[in-house]
């Protein structure tokens, strides 16, 4: 019962803030609502017993990436963009197509739910020392992708510095 209350609370919060991110006129308000959406997702991770991902989500997403976003918003003046049209000319077509794609995906899951019944989630004991298992999997089986990810971060760092340099 408590599980359901927590899940539906965080799910509602995440969806509402996601809608506000997309519809707000002011970019700073959008960024704040994106932080709310990310924190609500972190709550859902905690409810799924993914404690390590919860911490990573709070520190990296809500802490790191969002600070980067807010910092860039501060560098760029807002006054001109507030008075311009916020949606592009083909917005109705885009909205229609996006809703069709979303309805299709949701319909697929709804049909699959009734045809092959989803089993109940595994008991919490299966992933008991969750962080320990994640660490063993990450540094055992997925060692090579882990190292490749470090190269990706290096490339991204160099790319960001080169892009934001005064004179290219």
């Amino acid at each position: 019962m408590l599980d359901q209350i927590v899940f539906y609370f965080f799910a509602t919060l995440a969806v509402l803030s996601a809608v506000l991110v997309v519809t707000r006129r002011n970019i700073v308000q959008s960024a704040i609502f994106l932080i709310t959406a990310l924190l609500a997702t972190a709550g859902i991770f905690l409810q799924l017993h993914a404690e390590f991902l919860f911490i990573v989500q709070v520190i990296l997403y809500a802490g790191g990436i969002m600070v980067l976003f807010v910092f860039v918003i501060m560098l760029i003046n807002l006054d001109t963009s507030l008075h311009q049209a916020q949606y592009n000319r083909q917005w109705w077509l885009g909205l229609l197509l996006a809703l069709v794609v979303g309805a299709h995906l949701i319909l697929a899951v709804a049909v699959g739910r009734s045809v092959l019944p989803f089993p109940e989630p595994a008991p919490a004991t299966m992933l008991e020392p969750s962080t320990q298992i994640v660490g063993k999997t990450l540094f055992g089986e997925y060692m090579l992708p882990f190292e490749v990810a470090s190269i990706l971060l290096l490339v991204a760092m160099i790319g960001a510095v080169v892009m934001a340099k005064k004179k290219v």
């Binding site: 997403y61 990436i65 860039v72 995906l105 949701i106 899951v109 990706l152 892009m163 934001a164």
Partner: protein, 100 residues
């Protein structure tokens, strides 16, 4: 207990909202934020399935996706700063040249 399908529905709704943001908005920063929303929705999916199967591989892939999101945000915001410095605008439909 909550059925896994409910997590999938939540993830799909957030993903669709992200698609709507990318397709309809003109502001490039909001487009980048919508992409973050979509990546986040994918993470919910992965963790829910990881819970269902009882293995940690979904968590590992979610960590890789967060790494990608950080790299993408850094490069994307660098491009936006460079674009704003040259064009003095934030509108995505003004981005129609590779070099000027």
């Amino acid at each position: 207990m909550i059925p896994t399908a409910d997590y999938l529905f939540l993830s799909l709704v957030m993903f669709t909202i992200g698609i709507i943001g990318v397709v309809t908005r003109r502001n490039v920063i909001i487009i980048l934020m919508s992409i973050e929303l979509m990546l986040n929705a994918v993470n919910i999916n992965l963790v829910a399935f990881s819970r269902l199967v009882g293995s940690a591989e979904g968590h590992v892939f979610a960590i890789f996706i967060i790494t990608d999101a950080a790299a993408e945000a850094a490069v994307g915001l660098g491009i936006i700063i460079s674009f704003f410095r040259n064009r003095e605008t934030l509108l995505g439909d003004e981005m129609d040249l590779l070099k000027w």
